[in-house]
């Protein structure tokens, strides 16, 4: 069976309990198709970087799935019908990660950043604006 990471965004007006229920429904659909859900993370209500279907916030959920492709296709079909779901993304991965994902362990990662070779923790990003075009090469 193939391994997938699945993220979906639920509308901000639904309650966390309803999101959990939706996750359970999806899990049931996958299990009916012969798959299983190995991890289920709820990231909470997060603000979006841009408006999606007039929403500024959304409930994020991540599922790690080990299921055959038809089961995943069926689950995606049902998600498209559900109007509470703003968006979803299923990514096929070679291996599912254990433990909490990067989104949940952000806090404690800040400390270990400092000893990264070449990493300058005090400077986030590259502090220059956008470049218009590539300068001419000198040779």
């Amino acid at each position: 069976m193939a391994l997938y990471e699945h993220i979906y965004l639920a509308r901000q007006d639904v309650s966390p309990q309803q999101v959990e229920e939706m996750t359970n429904n999806m899990t049931a659909t996958l299990e009916a198709g012969g798959g299983k859900v190995t991890k289920n993370e709820y990231w909470g209500l997060k603000s979006l970087s841009y408006r999606i279907k007039k929403n500024r916030k959304a409930h994020y959920s991540l599922l790690n799935i080990d299921a055959p492709a038809p089961a995943v296709a069926e689950m995606e079909r049902q998600m498209r019908i559900n109007e509470d779901i703003l968006r979803f993304m299923t990514v096929r991965v070679d291996e599912l990660e254990e433990g909490p994902s990067a989104m949940l362990q952000k806090r404690d990662r800040d400390d270990e950043r400092g000893d990264r070779p070449g990493g300058r923790p005090d400077r986030g990003g590259f502090g220059r604006g956008d470049r218009d075009s590539r300068p001419p090469r000198r040779f």
Binding site: I7, L9, K46, L48, S49, Y50, I52, A58, Y60, L62, R87, M89, V91, S101, A102, M103, K106, R109, D110, R116, P117, G118, G119, G124, G125, F126, R128, G129, D130, R131, R138, F139
Partner: protein
């Protein structure tokens, strides 16, 4: 090609310029993950554009992986397509 270019610029400049290496190669390099916004944030400009690898020194292979990760993060709304 790159090496030759570097030596000519070094000869012209009074101060030495350290050769940058790919931040995703070598031991204890971070894994590129589309969920890790904090990591990806360092490779986009203030406008939200992906920074070219000739500035960030990311290797060509890793730049492709990185671009894919940034685009995924944009799709699920955790990173902006454009900051106005």
């Amino acid at each position: 090609m790159a090496i030759k270019d570097l030596t000519t610029t070094q000869a012209r400049r009074p101060f030495q310029r350290r050769r940058k290496t790919c931040p995703f190669s070598g031991p204890n390099a971070p894994k590129i993950d589309y969920k890790d916004v904090r990591l990806l944030q360092r490779y986009v400009s203030e406008r939200g554009k992906i920074v070219p690898s000739r500035i960030t020194a990311v290797s060509a292979l890793k730049q492709r992986v990185l671009a894919q990760a940034i685009k995924r993060a944009r799709f699920i709304g955790i990173m902006p397509y454009a900051v106005s």
